[in-house]
Every structure is written in structure tokens, then in C-alpha cells.
């Protein structure tokens, strides 16, 4: 069970207080109406789903109610950082080249 740092509460909290909300930084196309079915489908459903470093969106439902991002390794489950919406996070590793 994860111990997750909420960047708003400023504390490490138990996973049970949070919900995972999928891959982070998936921007809504600026002009949806101009998207092809394919572009729209990609936005809706297609994901990087990496084995390794992953930026993802979580929400502190039982706590402050805020959405935020965590940078986590999906293989080791290690969390490398939590950061607020709008902030950026970079791994010291160059390994993260595939990231957006």
C-alpha cells in the first residue's frame, strides 16, 4: 500500500485517502470540433501505459480534495515525487525521454 505525499496537505498519507485518476498531462485538444475521429479517439482512450516512470493524476478525496500529480515507477512502485497541478517534474534520470 502506497504512502503518498499530498503536496497540498504537506504530509504523507495512506493510499486509502486517495484515488488514482489515470495518466497525467493529457491535454484536451484545444479545438475538439476540428479533431478527426482518430485524433479524438487517441485523446479519449490511447495511453502510454509505461512499465517504468509514469506521471499520473491522483486526488486526495478523503483529505483536501485536491487533484495533483505523482511521478511513480510502475514497476518498482517507488514514488519519486508529488507535485501540484501546473507544476513540472523532471526525473534526474535521463531515462524519462519518452515523457511528454
Amino acid at each position: 500500500m502506497f504512502l503518498i505525499h499530498c503536496p497540498y496537505c504537506g504530509e504523507d498519507r495512506e493510499e486509502e485517502e486517495f484515488h488514482a485518476a489515470g495518466e497525467a498531462h493529457i491535454a484536451r485538444p484545444l479545438d475538439p470540433d476540428a479533431c478527426s475521429d482518430e485524433e479524438w479517439g487517441n485523446y479519449l482512450y490511447f495511453r502510454r501505459n509505461p512499465r517504468g516512470l509514469h506521471r499520473e493524476l491522483w486526488v486526495h478525496v478523503a483529505g483536501c480534495g485536491k487533484y495533483f500529480n505523482i511521478a511513480r515507477d510502475t514497476a518498482s512502485y517507488q514514488i519519486h515525487g508529488s507535485y501540484r497541478i501546473g507544476e513540472r517534474f523532471t526525473w534526474s534520470d535521463a531515462e524519462d525521454s519518452a515523457a511528454p
Partner: protein
């Protein structure tokens, strides 16, 4: 009990006259397989059985061979018993070696018919033994195919260990959360030293051990001893040192200690679970007193974890090594020293290391005969051997015990000389008469916990075992767990890692600079001979032809079976595990796994590290399901949410419906009314007079901010730009895929202030959906959402008399049609309470939704009833609400939609404003090519040709009922009722191309053989002009 205790006491023929950590003043009487026996407080069930000379404790799983107690701790594979005198407390598969003896306890073997001593199945076992090799099932029982089910019936009945109760468990379980700086697992010398060192930091320390008291292996090796291990710690006898350490720890308020508590799982980010056995006395003694909490699961989050879990002794693999009387060497010592129980009279020891000699010394000291110690090492030189010889014990080096003899227990040991590598027998065998065989193949570190988070153990040649591998957790290990068997080393390890573990916070304290002093060991043990890596003992015959050599006792896995599987291509240790069920038992292979791996390595010509281990997973030892569930059972399984008027509904005799976590009144039967009668009555009363519904469960969200309007326009499909204060609007909410997700009415309180309602079940999801968009996508919008679901009691009154009724209770709201029109919203007072009143309708009739602060809900509800009688005020529940709305063709999201329905499919195109400037959520999704197909399933009304027949909900529609199966289906019924008001059945459903096919017929072939016919129609069955609501 009626039996004379003195008689029972005298029956403990294998109890030593003195010694042991038992309380002879507290005799406990228990039964095993129907026999009454006696033991003492401090005994385990196993030690008490041995004291009474019980040798056979069960029959083996596959071959029904007699089995006895092998170990003294959690690694025990055989002594798995059924406990419980009453049906509701029947507890299967309890390890006798761990279970404290309880007065009045009723115990039985789990297998054996008519009993374990004389099991008839053993006849099959020995006959079938030759056939029932690995893969047996996969290779047979295939013909004829139809017979498999009956074969299986027999297989299932033969399998399984104990039996479950069939009555609900009367006991209570709970959970306890902990946050500590240092968790120390294991209270042997290593763990105690670690806890002592850590406790000096002032940090929070938790020390846990599965045994009934601290001390670990010192419990069987740490008291006065005149042989090689006459050790002292800080000039105290080891067990005195333990007592002293425990005193110091208990005096420290920052230290907590749990005994009889097993750390069962090590999860990510240093989260561990520990299972505490608190109180089994009531359950097992048959007493009727109300029990407290039987077991508790501790959930521990630790900044760092110290593992000091020690090691398990490996029995050697030799022919017939499963005969009762074969034990591990340390178990023999533990029974003698800790419990004052001698498991037999004549002992043969076979050990590949010096430690095994202890069993011989203890045995001799207890005054019994040691026949010989067999040591496979050629000319080892150690104090142990010297002292053994000095004590007159025969030591045969360069030899092996190749086979045990006996039928229901050991009667002899076959011994032979072997080569230096211990790979084959080099000379003639010799039979030694004995009744007990103690073996030690070495020690397997208890790496289990260290592996649970995915870390793989690594082979350590010096330890002759797997030790914990690298991890990303803050985890420290020491002592026997690292293969360090010298007591001084264990204490040094513990002190060091204890200090390290608590210094992770402060940089200046790194690397164990806490000045805890290492307890000093004084020992007379001077020379040690290197242990030998021996696992399976050679036999004059190949293992396929020798008597069975057991590796995993619980699953009857043999050396020959393992070799056969490698021959069949099962080369991965994981395949071997699964093909043989090696390590699959309740002991998870604690004694058998490494031996099994060694046999695989031998068969494949690989090294043990090349073969590797299987994956260790929780649980370390099995945990009751009740403890895992904790107190969240029965009425606490999931919260029940109540509306402010809940108790009134209960008193009014309502039947309730579960909607999400809410309890909603479903209908209110009166007298002997049936459900349909009650609903008909509620419907008619509402349509003709006035009905009242508790709608407090609706989700309610207060939305405020200058950008509220813009936001609503983005998340709803329709337009919000022109909704004036004081007005309400219905909205559909879609996902980005264009599928309907929720609906509800939103009122405009002020230009920048809205009151949104959602479905009961969708409330939480909708709020987080709004937050998601606002927080992550449009943070620039100045707007706030606050859940006010619980703040407002919502009372809906519907029916032609609703205005008159409400008028009685309000002075400051003008209810006239002109002043307060349909879809208007007003604030004012109802029954003296400040209220928000919406004139909206889910029934099609004149209707008001009164919202008052929840703490006044009951007051207003009562006030309505106070003057309601003359209007025929009738409470109605969700079922009537469903009928009333269906008469009007109003949808229920989740019932009439299922995640594959767009607003257009619902013919709700009117609620979609395609020309809004912002491409609202769902707009693009509903325009995808498949979502605009002509022949999509669309919501229509359905009129059954027989007006008295209600088409079942979920009935599937076909156009041609005569077609053969598989039929081509065109849709299904989503809502269907008998409308008492219309005097006929009505239904809605989604039908392919339905909107263009109104007037056509569809058919519903039902499971009961009937085929119903219905005509597609408009879903508004009542008052299509909407006149009733607008009066």
C-alpha cells in the same frame, strides 16, 4: 471434567520431571481425537501431545501416510489440526506447534478415516502411491469426457485438510493502525538488540514476535547448559538477559511490544500487517462468556523496518523421512528445554553442522539414550564433536542416515558411509534401533517478508541459504536471517541495524552512530567445523526406486516426483512448484522449498542459485479471514446513509431500497397490503391528491463564482447563458465520449450562484468530475463547488393538491401560477423554516421540491403531515416515483441508460446546444461516426398489446419472433410498470432505429416460453401536452 486429573497427569509419560517454561501448577485438560489428555499452561498443543506420547497427529494428503510432529514452530508442516468443540467455532488447520494449550480445548486430526491411527485411505495411498506421481490428474480421467464430473466429486472429497464451520463466526475481529519510526520483526537476540539500540533514540519503536514470549531461539538454547553452548550475555544467562531487555523496553513509553503476533505481510512503502491472536479461550474452551476481540490485525506504517526473523531448520531428505518420530534437531531441543517434553527414548541424530549436536546433548542430559550422531562430514574438527565423544556419544562421521524404518513410527535408522561430496553411498548399510530421529540439514533464513515487495533473495554460500536481496524500502536485516548463527554476531548485527534504522531522519546520526553498546557474549565454544551443504541424503537405490523421500510433507512431494517433473520438461523452479504443489501448503514450504530446489539443481546439473527460489508472497503464515476483514462486517460492512427523516420512515413501516449507500424508502405497505397494492395506492393518491417523497438523497452542489455560468455551459450539454435568477433548468451531463453520465436540475440563485442537483448514486462522482475539470483543465475559471447534499433535506410534494398544501405552511412565498411558475425557484419560509423551494416536477403533476436545512427536515415533514390529511397527503417511495416518472417518459440515468447512450439516443436532442461557443464536454464524442449511425438503439415507449401484461424489465426485443436461435436482437426494455392511473402497462426501452419506427411492433420472447408483443410509441404516456404540471 469427570476424569481424575492425577490419572491424566500420570499419563504424561514423556514429560520430564522438571525444567521447562511451563506452569505445572496450572494443569489444563484437553481432548485429542476423542481422548482426554492433560498439559500445562505454557504448553503448545504440540508439546502437550508429545508429552502424552501422541505420535500420529494426522494422515498425509495424497498417500494417507501416518504423520507426526516434525518441528516446534511456525514451520511445522504436519501437525495441522482441527480445533473447536462447537460447530460455530470450528477452526480448521491450526498449527499445533503454535497454538497455546487451552483448558477444555477439543482437537482432532484433519484427515484419516476411521481415525488417523488406522486410516483406511492408506491402503489406497500405498496402492495408488506408485500411480499418483506429479501430473497424475492431467494424464487421466479424460475418458469418457462425461465422467470427469463424477471423478472430480471423489477427488474433491478426498482433498482438503480441515473443515470450515457452516455457521456464522460468533467472534469479533478488528484492526489497529500504527505509525512508527522503527518496526522490529522478531524478538530473538537480534531483534531485541535492535529494539534496545533503536529505543535509545527516543523514536517510536514497535517490536513484534509471533511467539508467546520474547527470546526467539534463546527459548530453546539460552538457558544453563554445560556443553558447548554454555553461553552468557553480559554475564547473564541468555534468558535472563532477555528478561532484562524486555523490562527495559517495556519501561520506555516510546516502545510498544506485541507477542503472539505474526507479521504476515510486507507491502509497499514499508506497510506491514501483523496478526495478533488475543483471546481464544472462549472460542475453544466452550465457555459461554462473551468474548472480547478474538484477533486483531495490526496495520503498521514504519519509517524503517528491521527484520530479525531468524531462520528455520531444514530437515534432511532421506527415505521414509516422514515417519512419526522424525524431527528437526532444534525441535527436539525445544521440546526438551522449553516444554520439558522428551519426544522418545532412543535418539539418532543426523546433522550436517555442529548445531545439530545440541539435540544429542539435550537428549542425554534428559537422561535418555543417544544411539548415535551421524555426521556426513569427513573428519570434522569441532568442540561439539569432541564434547560428544567425551560424553560417550557415538559419532559416525562420513556417514549418512539413508532410510528410516518403521510402520507407524520410527523403529530404526539405516546408516551407511558416503563419499565426501555426499552424493552416493560407499559401503554397507547398518540398522540402528531407535524411536526418534533428529536431523539438521542447516538453516534457511526466514527471508519471506523481505521478498513480499518484489525483492528477490540472493544465495549466500557461507550461509548455505538464501538471504534478503536488495530493496528500495528502508529495510535492515541481521542475525540468523543473514545466516549469522553465532550469538555474538547476532547481537552485534542487531545493535547496529537498530541504530541505523532510527537514524534515517537526521543526517548527522547516519550510519549507526548511536552509541548503543553491543551486548557481549561469553562462550565456551572454541572450535567450529564448517557446515556441509547437504539437502537430500543419498540412498543405495536411485530415488525413483528407493522408499519415498519426502521434501514437502504437507503436499506429499517427493524427491522422485521432483526428478520426474524435470524429466518431463518442467525445468523452471516455478513449474516444478506448480506441477508438484511444492511449497503450496499452509506452511508455504518453510521446511521443504530449499531442499526441493537443491533436488532440481541436482537433476538439472545446475547450481542452487541458478535454480533460484519461487516467489514468496503474503501471508507469512495463514491468517484468519475474519482478522483480515476486521470489524467491517455485517451491519458495518458498508455505511448506511440516512436522510434526516429516516426514523419517520422506519416508523411508517417503509420497506427500504439500497441506492448507493443510502437507505431510501421503497414503498410504504399498510396493513396486509402487497407491494403492488401499496404502489397502486401511492400512485393514485399522488395523482389525485398529493404525495410526499423524501428526496434528500439527491446530490446537491453549491456552485459559486463569476465563472459559474461558463462552467455549467462546459459540463452540461445545454445552454446556461440566459437562465435568470429564480429559474431552474434540467441538464444532461456527458462524458468526453458523448455518453450520458448524469442528469439533474440546476437552479440559478444569483447570477454567480447555482444550486445543482445530481442523481443519488452519481453525486460523489459528479462532484469529483466537476473538480477534475476545474482543477486540472480550467483553473482560470473563478468558481467554487461545495457539496451540500447533507445540508439540505429535500421534500418533494406532488399532485394537484400540492399547492394548497404548501400554501398552508408558507406566508412569504406567493404560490400563484403567475408568481411562481413551472421551473421557478423561490426562497422563503415553510413551516417557519427558511427554505429553497423549486417548482419542478418528476411526476408531470404540479409539484414542489422543498429544501430546508437538514436539521429542520423532520420539522417541516411533520408540519406537512399536520395539515396534510385533508388533502390526502400520502407518502410514497422510490417505486411509485419510478412509475410516476415513467408515465411521463422521464428517464432515470443508470436504468434507462447504460453508458452507451447519447442524448440523441434518448431523443433528448432538445437538451443539447450544439452551437455553444465552447465545445462542451461530450460534444465531440457524440459526433463520432458510430454515434451518429441511423440504426442506433434509441429510447422509445413500448405498449404491450395486452394492457394487463407488464413486460419484464430486461426483456430483449426481436422483430421476428419466429426466427431460430441465435436470434437477432434489436433492443431491450429498460423500465416497465403497471400504471394504476392509466389502467394499463407501460414501458420504455431502447430499440434499434426506434425513433423512426414508432408504430411498428417488436416481440419479446421470454424465458418462461411466452412471447409478448408491443408497439413502439412515444414514451410520454400521460398528458403529452404537459398541462397537468403547469396549472
Amino acid at each position: 471434567m469427570s476424569i481424575d486429573p492425577n490419572y491424566l497427569r500420570a499419563n504424561q509419560g514423556f514429560r520430564l520431571a522438571d525444567g521447562g517454561r511451563i506452569d505445572r501448577g496450572d494443569p489444563l485438560i484437553f481432548s485429542f481425537a476423542g481422548r482426554r489428555l492433560m498439559g500445562y499452561r505454557g504448553d503448545t498443543l504440540a508439546s502437550a501431545l508429545l508429552a502424552n506420547g501422541v505420535r500420529i497427529v494426522g494422515r498425509s494428503f495424497k498417500y494417507a501416510r501416518p504423520r507426526g510432529i516434525v518441528c516446534a514452530g511456525v514451520e511445522e508442516p504436519n501437525a495441522i489440526l482441527q480445533i473447536g468443540g462447537r460447530e460455530e467455532t470450528q477452526t480448521p488447520n491450526v498449527r499445533a506447534t503454535e497454538q497455546p494449550l487451552i483448558d477444555g480445548m477439543v482437537t482432532r486430526p484433519v484427515n484419516g478415516w476411521p481415525n488417523a491411527d488406522a486410516d483406511l485411505m492408506s491402503i489406497f495411498g500405498s496402492l495408488g502411491g506408485a500411480l499418483m506421481t506429479p501430473g497424475f490428474y492431467y494424464k487421466t480421467f479424460m475418458f469418457p469426457a462425461s465422467r470427469w464430473e463424477s471423478y472430480e466429486w471423489f477427488i474433491r472429497r478426498a482433498a482438503g485438510l480441515g473443515k470450515s464451520s457452516k455457521l456464522p463466526d460468533p467472534d469479533r475481529y478488528d484492526h489497529m493502525n500504527h505509525h512508527v519510526d522503527v518496526l522490529v520483526v522478531g524478538a530473538g537476540p537480534t531483534g531485541l538488540a535492535a529494539a534496545l539500540a533503536a529505543s535509545e533514540s527516543g523514536k517510536r519503536v514497535l517490536l513484534i514476535d509471533e511467539r508467546s514470549e520474547a527470546g526467539g531461539s534463546l527459548l530453546w538454547s539460552g538457558d544453563a547448559d554445560k556443553y558447548a553452548w554454555g553461553e552468557a550475555i553480559d554475564a547473564m544467562l541468555p534468558m535472563q538477559w532477555v528478561a532484562n531487555a524486555v523490562r527495559r523496553l517495556d519501561a520506555n513509553p516510546q516502545v510498544a511490544r506485541l507477542t503472539h503476533t505474526t507479521v504476515t505481510g510486507y507491502h509497499d512503502h514499508n506497510f506491514l500487517t501483523a496478526w495478533e491472536r488475543r483471546d481464544d479461550t472462549c472460542a475453544f474452551s466452550g465457555s459461554d462468556t462473551v468474548p472480547g476481540t478474538r484477533q486483531r490485525l495490526h496495520k503498521i506504517r514504519a519509517a524503517s523496518v528491521v527484520l530479525a526473523t531468524g531462520a528455520h531448520e531444514r530437515p534432511l531428505v532421506f527415505a521414509n523421512n516422514d515417519l512419526p518420530g522424525c524431527m528437526t534437531a532444534s525441535a527436539v531441543s525445544e521440546y526438551i528445554r522449553r516444554y520439558a517434553v522428551i519426544p522418545g527414548n532412543r535418539l539418532v541424530v543426523m546433522t550436517a553442522n555442529d548445531g545439530g549436536y545440541r539435540a544429542a546433548f539435550d537428549w542425554k542430559q534428559a537422561g535418555r539414550e543417544v544411539v548415535a550422531v551421524i555426521d556426513p562430514r569427513h573428519d570434522p574438527d569441532s568442540s561439539a564433536i569432541q564434547q560428544a565423544r567425551e560424553a560417550g556419544i557415538t559419532v559416525l562421521t562420513g556417514s549418512a542416515l539413508v532410510e528410516a524404518r518403521g510402520r507407524k513410527g520410527v523403529t530404526g535408522a539405516l546408516v551407511a558411509p558416503i563419499n565426501k561430496l555426499a552424493t552416493f553411498v560407499t559401503g554397507d548399510t547398518r540398522l540402528l534401533a531407535c524411536d526418534t530421529i533428529a536431523t539438521s540439514g542447516g538453516w534457511s533464513p526466514a527471508v519471506h517478508l523481505s521478498c513480499h515487495t518484489g525483492s528477490r533473495p540472493v544465495w549466500d554460500d557461507a550461509a548455505i541459504g538464501f538471504v534478503p536481496g536488495p530493496t528500495t524500502e528502508r529495510r535492515y536485516a541481521g542475525g540468523s536471517l543473514l545466516g549469522h548463527h553465532a550469538l555474538a554476531q547476532c547481537l552485534a548485527d542487531g545493535t547496529e541495524i537498530g541504530a541505523q534504522a532510527c537514524s534515517v531522519y537526521s543526517d548527522e546520526q547516519r550510519e549507526g552512530s548511536i552509541a548503543a553498546s553491543v551486548p557481549q557474549v561469553q562462550s565456551s565454544n572454541t572450535t567450529e567445523a564448517a557446515p556441509m551443504a547437504l539437502f537430500a541424503v543419498p540412498h543405495p537405490k536411485p530415488s525413483s526406486r528407493a522408499p519415498k523421500q519426502f521434501v514437502d510433507f504437507q503436499n506429499d512431494v517427493t524427491a522422485a516426483g521432483i526428478e520426474q517433473s524435470t524429466r518431463e520438461g518442467f525445468e523452471s523452479i516455478e513449474h516444478v512448484k506448480r506441477y508438484n504443489a511444492l511449497g503450496f501448503g499452509t506452511d508455504q514450504g518453510k521446511t521443504g522449498n530449499v531442499n526441493g530446489m537443491a533436488i532440481v539443481a541436482r537433476a538439472l546439473g545446475k547450481t542452487l542459485p541458478e535454480v533460484g527460489t519461487t516467489v514468496f508472497r503474503p501471508n507469512y503464515t495463514p491468517v484468519t479471514m475474519g482478522a483480515v476483514g476486521g470489524a467491517h462486517v455485517r451491519e458495518l460492512f458498508d455505511p448506511e446513509r440516512y436522510t434526516p427523516m429516516h426514523r419517520w420512515h422506519v416508523k411508517a413501516g417503509a420497506e427500504f431500497e439500497n441506492v448507493g449507500q443510502w437507505k431510501r424508502p421503497w414503498y410504504y405497505p399498510q396493513g396486509n397490503e402487497s407491494m403492488s397494492e401499496a404502489i397502486a395506492r401511492e400512485q393514485l393518491a399522488t395523482r389525485n391528491g398529493v404525495g410526499i417523497l423524501d428526496a434528500s438523497t439527491l446530490g446537491k452542489i453549491d456552485i459559486r463564482g463569476p465563472d459559474a455560468r461558463e462552467f455549467l455551459a462546459r459540463v452540461y450539454t445545454n445552454s446556461w447563458a440566459k437562465l435568470a435568477p429564480g429559474r431552474c433548468r434540467y441538464g444532461l451531463m456527458c462524458g468526453e465520449d458523448g455518453m450520458v453520465m448524469d442528469d439533474g436540475v440546476t437552479a440559478c440563485l444569483a447570477d454567480d450562484h447555482f444550486h445543482m442537483t445530481t442523481t443519488t448514486g452519481g453525486a460523489a462522482h459528479v462532484l469529483s468530475w466537476l473538480e477534475l475539470w476545474q482543477q486540472t483543465e480550467w483553473p482560470e475559471l473563478d468558481i467554487f463547488f461545495t457539496s451540500v447534499t447533507d445540508q439540505w433535506a429535500t421534500i418533494s410534494i406532488a399532485g394537484p393538491n400540492s399547492r394548497a398544501l404548501l400554501d398552508e405552511l408558507t406566508d412569504d412565498i406567493d404560490l400563484s401560477a403567475e408568481a411562481f411558475g413551472f421551473m421557478d425557484f423561490r426562497t422563503g419560509h415553510v413551516a417557519g423554516i427558511a427554505a429553497r423551494v423549486f417548482r419542478i416536477s418528476f411526476t408531470g403533476d404540479l409539484s414542489y421540491e422543498i429544501n430546508v436545512p437538514a436539521h429542520h427536515g423532520q420539522t417541516v415533514w411533520d408540519a406537512l403531515f399536520n395539515c396534510g390529511e385533508r388533502y390526502g397527503l400520502t407518502p410514497y417511495g422510490t417505486e411509485t416515483m419510478h412509475v410516476l416518472r415513467a408515465e411521463k417518459g422521464f428517464i432515470i440515468v443508470g436504468q434507462d441508460t447504460d453508458g452507451s447512450v447519447t442524448p440523441y439516443d434518448l431523443d433528448h436532442g432538445w437538451a443539447v446546444a450544439g452551437n455553444k461557443p465552447f465545445s462542451f464536454i461530450g460534444k465531440r464524442g457524440m459526433q463520432r461516426s458510430d454515434c451518429t449511425r441511423e440504426e442506433r438503439k434509441q429510447l422509445v415507449g413500448l405498449k404491450c398489446s395486452d394492457p394487463n401484461t407488464v413486460i419484464p424489465e430486461g426483456a430483449q426485443a426481436v422483430r421476428d419472433p419466429a426466427q431460430p436461435i441465435p436470434m437477432s436482437m434489436v433492443g431491450h426494455v429498460t423500465s416497465s410498470y403497471y400504471s394504476a392511473f392509466l389502467g394499463r402497462s407501460i414501458a420504455m426501452g431502447v430499440i434499434k432505429g426506434g425513433l423512426k419506427r414508432k408504430g411498428e411492433k417488436v416481440y419479446f420472447p421470454l424465458a418462461d416460453g411466452r412471447t409478448l408483443e408491443a408497439t413502439l410509441c412515444d414514451p410520454v404516456f400521460l398528458d403529452p401536452e404537459g398541462a397537468r404540471g403547469k396549472v
